[in-house]
C-alpha cells in the first residue's frame, strides 16, 4: 500500500487491539488482491493477460471496476484507470517526487513518438467486457495495456476497514490511509474529528480545519507528488486525452459517505484543472478546493 495507515479510536485497549488487527488484516487482503505490484493480484493477472485472453472477475473486483466505469462516465472521460502507462513514460523523463526533493529539479518532456505510442494503449472504452453464465470477464485487447486502480484501492481499503470496525460495534474511530480518511462515527459526546487540510504551497501550514462526523474525506493535489517542468508545477494525474499531466488546481478536498466517492470526486476535480472548482460545486456536498492563484471554492 506504500502509505502510513493510522487508526484513532475512543475505546478500551483490548477493543483497540482487535480493531487494529482487523484493519491490518483487511488492508493486506486488499493489497494482495488489487495491487499492481503483486504479481498474483487480480489487477496483475488482468494486465499480464493483455492482448492474450480474458480474465474472469470475482464479485468484488467486478464491483470496483464498475465503480471506475461510473467515474469514467461522470468525469467526461478524464478519469481513466487505463492511463497508468503514462505515469511510467513521464517517470522515465525524471522521477515523480516531492517538490523540495533534490532530484525534482527538472523533468524533460517525453518525445512525441513515445507519447503517441503510449496514448494508443490508453482508453477505457477500448476494454472488452463479457458477461456469461453469471460471470463477468475483462479483456485488454492490446499487449502493453494496463489498468491501475491507483488511489481507488487505498480509498476502498479505508472504507472496507471502517465497515468491519462498525460491524465490531466500534463507532468512535478514525482511519487515516495516507491522507484518505474514513470516520466510523463521531466522539462519544457527539463532537466531530477535526481534520487539518495541508496548505498546498506552504509546507507544514494548514489551509483549513474541517470537522468530520462520519464518512470519508479525501484530498488530491499537486504538492505531495508532482512534476516540475520549466518551473511550472504539474500534478501526478494525467489527462488521457492529451497524455500530459494536468495543472490548474493546487488541491481539492471532498467529504462524502464513503472515501471512494470522496477520492473519486477529488481526483476528477483535479483532472478538470482550472474548472475543477465549478465541477465540485455541482457534484459534491462538501468540498474545499484551491488553485495556483489562491482562489478558493468551498461548501463547508
Amino acid at each position: 500500500m506504500s502509505c502510513r495507515i493510522e487508526l484513532q479510536a475512543v475505546s478500551s485497549a483490548p477493543v483497540f487491539a482487535k480493531a487494529a488487527a482487523t484493519v491490518e488484516a483487511e488492508t493486506r487482503r486488499i493489497e494482495a488482491h488489487f495491487s499492481r505490484y503483486r504479481p498474483d493480484s487480480m489487477v496483475s493477472r488482468i494486465n499480464q493477460a493483455a492482448g492474450k485472453q480474458a480474465v474472469v472477475l470475482d464479485a468484488e473486483t467486478a464491483a470496483l471496476l464498475d465503480f471506475a466505469d461510473h467515474c469514467y462516465r461522470a468525469s467526461g472521460g478524464v478519469f481513466d484507470i487505463t492511463s497508468g502507462a503514462l505515469r511510467q513514460l513521464w517517470a522515465q523523463a525524471g522521477s515523480l517526487a516531492a517538490p523540495l526533493a533534490a532530484s525534482a529539479t527538472r523533468h524533460r518532456l517525453p518525445d512525441a513518438a513515445a507519447l503517441a505510442r503510449v496514448c494508443a494503449l490508453i482508453g477505457w472504452e477500448k476494454l472488452v467486457w463479457q458477461r456469461a453464465h453469471g460471470e463477468t470477464s475483462i479483456f485488454l485487447p492490446q499487449p502493453g495495456m494496463e489498468i491501475d486502480l491507483g488511489g481507488l484501492g487505498k480509498e476502498y481499503a479505508a472504507d472496507r476497514a471502517a465497515t468491519l470496525l462498525r460491524q465490531q460495534g466500534l463507532s468512535a474511530a478514525l482511519l487515516n490511509f495516507g491522507g484518505d480518511l474514513h470516520a466510523c462515527g463521531p466522539w462519544p459526546d457527539g463532537s466531530p474529528w477535526q481534520v487539518g487540510i495541508a496548505h498546498p504551497r506552504q509546507p507544514g501550514a494548514l489551509l483549513a480545519t474541517l470537522p468530520l462526523f462520519q464518512g470519508g474525506l479525501a484530498s488530491s493535489g499537486d504538492y505531495a507528488r508532482c512534476l516540475l517542468i520549466d518551473g511550472v508545477r504539474y500534478s501526478h494525474l494525467f489527462d488521457p486525452r492529451s497524455g500530459y499531466p494536468v495543472r490548474g488546481l493546487a488541491s481539492a478536498t471532498v467529504l462524502a459517505d464513503t472515501c471512494l466517492v470522496a477520492g473519486a470526486l477529488a481526483s476528477i476535480a483535479l483532472l478538470h484543472g482550472a474548472a475543477g472548482g465549478d465541477f465540485l460545486a455541482s457534484a459534491a456536498s462538501r468540498y474545499l478546493a484551491v488553485d495556483d492563484a489562491g482562489r478558493q471554492w468551498q461548501r463547508r
Binding site: 478500551s12 464491483a63 468525469s75 462515527g185 463521531p186 459534491a284
Partner: protein
C-alpha cells in the same frame, strides 16, 4: 504570488443545502454514491447510545471548577468543586466529585406586613454556612444493557443528607431506542443552630425514561419521575408575622405538610444541523406535587461546534410556577400549615445562559458557564403572587478538564 482568498465561487447558490446536491439524481456525487452501493461497504446511522453521557471513554478525566452564585444584595454561594471519571475498560465507568460550598449573605427570616404590605425582613444576623458534599458513581455494561449505582452525602452544621440510587438501561431496536429505569432513596436530618433536636425526612424516587433516535441527526427523549417522601419539610429559621390592627401579630412559623408526592415529566428534542455544525435543542418539563405547586419549564438551546473543537451553547429558559396551597404572605390565624417562603410562591422566571468550551491542548479544556436569572411575579401568565419581591441572580462557573 499572493495568496488572497477571493470571493467563493457559488455556482449553485440555490442549492445551498448539502443534502440537495447529494440527493439530486443528476449530480455526479449521487451517481457515484449509487455505484458504490454495489460494493460490500456500509454507512452507519448514528445510534441513540451515542448521544448519551460519554460511556466507554478510555482513560481518565479530571476536572476542577469554581462556581459562584449571587443574588441581588442577598445570598452568595462560592463552591470549588473537583470531579473525576475513569473507564478501566470499555464496559466499566467510575466517577465521583467533591464540593465545598460557602453560603454567605443575608437570608430572609421574617415576612412581616406591619407596613401594610408584606415585607421580607432580614434578620440582621448574617449567614455563613459551609457545606461539604461528595458523590461516587459506577456503571457496568453487558452488551446492550447497563447498570449503574451512585451514593451521595452532604453535610452542614445543621443539615445532613445521604442518598443512594440505582439505574438500569437497555438499548434495543439496533440501538435506536434506549429504555431506562431508576430508583433512588434519600435520608435527610434537619437540625437548627442552638437546638439539640434533629428531625428526619425520607424520600424515594422512581424514574422511567426512553430515548428514541428519529433520524441520523435527531432524537427525542422523555422521562417520567415520581417521588414520595415523609418527614420534616419545615424551614426552622423562617416565620411570618401578620399584623391586623394594634396588638400582637399572628406568628406563623414555617410549617409544611409532613408528606409530599411529586411527579415530573421531561421531554427533549435534539436536532443536529451539519451545515452549521449546530445541535438545536427544545426541552419541556412539567412538575406537580400534592402541595399545590405546579410548574412548566420551556428551554431552547443551540450547541454550536467551531472548527478548532471549541463549543458554545446559548440557552433561554422560561419557567412559571403556581403557588403551594399553604403559601401566603400573611396569616389571619395560626394554622397547621403555612409558609411565606418565596420559593413556594407563584411567579415567572427567565434564564439566559451561555456555556463555552475551549480546548487548550489535545488533552485539556476550559469550560465557562454564565447565566442570568430573573424572577418576577408579573411574568407568570395570569399573574403571580402580588407584591412578591423581585429576584435577580447571576451564576458563573469556570472549569478546567484534563483527559489522560
Amino acid at each position: 504570488m499572493g495568496w488572497e482568498v477571493a470571493a467563493v465561487a457559488a455556482i449553485d447558490s440555490l442549492c445551498r443545502s448539502a443534502g440537495a446536491i447529494a440527493r439530486n439524481p443528476t449530480s455526479v456525487g449521487f451517481l457515484l454514491a449509487s455505484a458504490a452501493l454495489a460494493l460490500p461497504l456500509s454507512s452507519t446511522p448514528v445510534q441513540a447510545g451515542d448521544f448519551s453521557s460519554p460511556a466507554g471513554v478510555d482513560a481518565a478525566e479530571v476536572g476542577v471548577a469554581y462556581l459562584r452564585y449571587q443574588e441581588n444584595g442577598r445570598m452568595r454561594a462560592d463552591a470549588p468543586l473537583l470531579w473525576f471519571n475513569v473507564s478501566p475498560d470499555e464496559s466499566l465507568q467510575i466517577g465521583g466529585s467533591v464540593d465545598l460550598d460557602t453560603l454567605s449573605g443575608a437570608s430572609v427570616q421574617y415576612v412581616s406586613n406591619r407596613s401594610g404590605t408584606p415585607v421580607h425582613a432580614l434578620s440582621g444576623a448574617s449567614v455563613n454556612e459551609r457545606r461539604t458534599g461528595s458523590e461516587v458513581h459506577a456503571s457496568k455494561a453487558w452488551g446492550e444493557q447497563r447498570v449503574g449505582v451512585s451514593v451521595a452525602q452532604s453535610r452542614e452544621t445543621d443539615y445532613r443528607s445521604q442518598s443512594a440510587a440505582i439505574d438500569y438501561r437497555i438499548e434495543t431496536n439496533a440501538r435506536n431506542t434506549t429504555y431506562s429505569v431508576g430508583l433512588g432513596h434519600s435520608s435527610d436530618e434537619i437540625g437548627k443552630h442552638g437546638s439539640p433536636i434533629w428531625r428526619a425526612r425520607h424520600s424515594q424516587d422512581v424514574l422511567l425514561g426512553v430515548t428514541q433516535l428519529l433520524t441520523a441527526r435527531s432524537l427525542v427523549q422523555s422521562n417520567l419521575a415520581y417521588g414520595w417522601g415523609s418527614g420534616d419539610y419545615n424551614d426552622p429559621y423562617k416565620s411570618t408575622l401578620s399584623f391586623f390592627g394594634p396588638g400582637a401579630p399572628v406568628v406563623q412559623p414555617d410549617r409544611r405538610p409532613e408528606a409530599r408526592h411529586h411527579l415530573a415529566w421531561l421531554s427533549r428534542y435534539r436536532h443536529f444541523l451539519p451545515q452549521i455544525n449546530t445541535a438545536l435543542g427544545l426541552d419541556y418539563r412539567y412538575y406537580r406535587d400534592d402541595w399545590g405547586v405546579r410548574a412548566h419549564t420551556v428551554e431552547l438551546s443551540a450547541a454550536h461546534t467551531l472548527e478548532n473543537g471549541a463549543r458554545w451553547v446559548p440557552l433561554l429558559r422560561y419557567y412559571t410556577q403556581h403557588a403551594a396551597d399553604f403559601y401566603a404572605q400573611s396569616f389571619a390565624v395560626r394554622s397547621a400549615t403555612g409558609s411565606s417562603d418565596t420559593r413556594l410562591a407563584a411567579f415567572g422566571a427567565l434564564t439566559l445562559g451561555l456555556r463555552f468550551e475551549w480546548p487548550l491542548t489535545a488533552q485539556s479544556r476550559v469550560d465557562l458557564s454564565l447565566a442570568s436569572y430573573r424572577q418576577r411575579a408579573a411574568w407568570r401568565p395570569g399573574g403571580g403572587t402580588p407584591d412578591l419581591p423581585r429576584l435577580d441572580a447571576g451564576y458563573l462557573m469556570l472549569g478546567y478538564v484534563w483527559r489522560f
